[in-house]
Symmetry: C2
Subunit: 427 residues, 2 copies
């Protein structure tokens, strides 16, 4: 049974605060393990990666080579049906079009003193993309992680993916091909992340590492943050649906379940001003669940983390939505605009009755890699900027005299005599 | 004696690779200490902060209160001389003007299928600014960290600074006043960072924490990355000066020393195509050093990490500069434009003979909080975007039919039936 809260009931503030505080993130206790693996890879390079791959994935790199060649990738990709292939191409086109708009502009201007200042954006040289093996290997994630890097102009895009049992995932190989991934290596786990960060020939060192993974992979990225850039610290996924009486309860239920089916610790929350809708959605969830192949996972998530909140007025949801800062926010309202304008914290917003999150997950255009666990308060979804950096510049050849005295005064005040000297020596 | 390398000499590639690999960052071994302090603050709140402040700073928070009130701050700020006050105002004006240009634009467009997609940028609610106590308390850092937050539109800006001995730094208090810092608390160390991250009344929880600090502060920020946003993982500072025969050796020497005086592990590197200049700069460094109050620090840095590299042709410096990806890059060249266009990795670039780094440190406009230790390969300096986040949005109310089948096909392919259902139920 999902949690039921009424914003008008006594004790709501405390119950809601507890909901906000629970990020559903447990320390997996893998920190020391991961630190050891990273140190091993750093110290012993390829030999360590090969040993760990044999141990964890049962794959002998000496047999097939660490790199998955173009022919092997193409052979796997060829097994995808034409219908799915066309859908992936449509998704790639739409995601690419959206992200092109994110390319940032530089700035270069001369001010009234004659001083020139500005910045330019340039892509990183090489990006690494982690793709999990097994059930969680989603081709849509390959597109969402790889395409912003390509749009940014990254020179080389390197993918790693574990192949337990030696099997390649045809969908993943096709998505990599469509997205323009340059090289693919059959390694996974913390050892693959370490290989991407430090470079373990033939795996080249990458400047940025992105992509989803299990607890070991996530912890490896966290530990290597600063050695390389990473996309984000990710936790379990979540959706917040805000709906009024105009929403179809079955549609709301399907959307809540589409989040719940990801993971037993995923979270689906409905906030509505309609008690009738609240009841109908709860009933629809129960009606739809048995028909889903993912029912066990979805039911576990819904029972443990599912939440339905009723409010007196739909505008009362604004502070609740801002506090939850949900990864995905659906506004299934007769008129979503007022709430859309008022809510400030969310990873991505889906407007109206015919915009289920799944459209955005696959091919709406916006990225589906989004901040979880209330991190939308301060973090953005993945985008082109994750693969670029800004270099500022300054030229005070003209205008030096207008600022030199003040700069030297501040250097004196801070007790930095060589700073002051470097200015006064030019005066 | 600085390291001398000649790009034409045998063994240069190896020596240069070693230079690039040495980030001058040593594990301070404070990781477990910091984890303990964070856990303490999280578990026991104010009591833990008060105990740790008494122990490390010798300050009794019960006596003067944890918050530094407006009157107390104003009284300290009033002790700054008019000349320095005017210089700080000029700096704030110029830094503010530069950062206003960084305010990002949103996007909102309807494509050919009728699907609306875009994003908007919004500021975080509250930012926390760490300001070190003692010698490293620089008013310029207060401006550089606080002003981008104010420009971004952050609602509340909170500063923490340790006051060992109870003394307030007048310059820091004035800079905070000029930059519009809202509240100031007299706490420091890892305990202050933890208080900002989790909120320890009356210290409010912040969404982003920025600012320099010692090894404990830096490690606390690293450990809390993900709970909050942070500016960056920072290491020792560095400068790379690329100069040709047109440069004045004394100017080059002063600039190298302005970096070296910061820290014994700071690094100053000169690359030049003029053996004459190389020799003259080395001599000028020795000539200038004795006159500096910071000579001991600057000499230690220059002796241990100072480096002079000679190359055959000035354009040969491009790959070297990109590999070093220096925090600060000065181009002291008769014509800096060709190198300026060719070099891709640097934190901030200073063009021409009359743009010493110190102008940028204080009031050129660009931020002086920059990626160190080769991180300019993937990271940017501090800016307005550090205090904002992008929320994407999608509306497929119109255009749904153009993409629904493809989305459902991909959901099927990924084995996510509720995703497929959420699309098909609307078809």
């Amino acid at each position: 049974m999902p949690l039921r809260l009424d914003a008008r009931a006594p004790g709501f503030a405390e119950a809601f605060a507890a909901l906000v505080a629970d990020r559903r993130e447990e320390d997996a206790g893998v920190s020391a393990d991961v630190a050891r693996i990273i140190a091993e890879v750093r110290a012993r390079g390829y030999a360590a990666v090969a040993e760990l791959t044999a141990r964890f994935d049962g794959v002998d790199l000496a047999a097939g080579g660490i790199e998955i060649g173009r022919d092997e990738r193409a052979a796997a990709a060829a097994r995808v049906t034409p219908e799915t292939r066309a859908a992936l191409h449509l998704a790639a086109d739409r995601i690419g079009m959206f992200h092109v708009e994110q390319l940032p502009k530089g700035h270069d201007a001369v001010d009234g003193s004659g001083i020139r200042a500005g910045w330019r954006w340039t892509p990183v040289e090489r990006a690494g993309l982690y793709v999990p093996g097994g059930r969680a290997a989603y081709p849509s994630s390959v597109l969402m992680n790889a395409l912003p890097a390509k749009v940014a102009g990254v020179r080389e895009l390197v993918m790693v993916t574990p192949t337990p049992g030696g099997e390649l995932n045809p969908l993943v190989m096709l998505a990599a091909e469509i997205a323009g991934v340059d090289r693919v290596f059959r390694i996974g786990g913390a050892q693959a992340v370490a290989a991407l960060a430090y470079g373990v020939a033939p795996v080249p060192a990458c400047d940025v590492i992105v992509g989803p993974g299990n607890a070991w992979v996530a912890e490896a990225k966290r530990q290597l943050y600063g050695v390389v850039g990473i996309d984000m610290v990710a936790g379990p996924s979540e959706i917040l649906v805000i709906a009024d009486a105009s929403a179809d309860p079955a549609h709301v239920a399907a959307d809540l379940l589409s989040q719940a089916e990801h993971d037993p610790v995923a979270q689906s929350i409905l906030i509505t001003d309609s008690a009738t809708l609240a009841g109908a959605v709860a009933a629809e969830v129960e009606r739809l669940l048995p028909g889903l192949a993912s029912a066990a996972t979805a039911r576990a998530s819904w029972a443990r983390f599912g939440t339905i909140i009723t409010v007196a007025d739909i505008m009362d949801t604004v502070p609740l939505a801002d506090a939850l800062a949900a990864e995905h926010l659906e506004l299934m309202l007769a008129d979503p605009e007022p709430l859309f304008r008022a809510i400030r914290h969310a990873g991505s917003i889906f407007l109206g009755h015919r915009t289920p999150e799944a459209i955005g997950d696959y091919l709406g255009g916006p990225n589906h890699v989004l901040p979880t666990g209330r991190r939308a308060r301060f973090a953005s979804g993945l985008g082109v900027l994750n693969f670029m950096k800004r270099t500022t510049f300054l030229d005070s050849s003209r205008g030096f005299d207008a600022v030199a005295d003040a700069a030297a005064t501040l250097a004196d005040a801070e007790g930095l005599p060589a700073h002051a000297l470097s200015v006064r020596i030019r005066s």
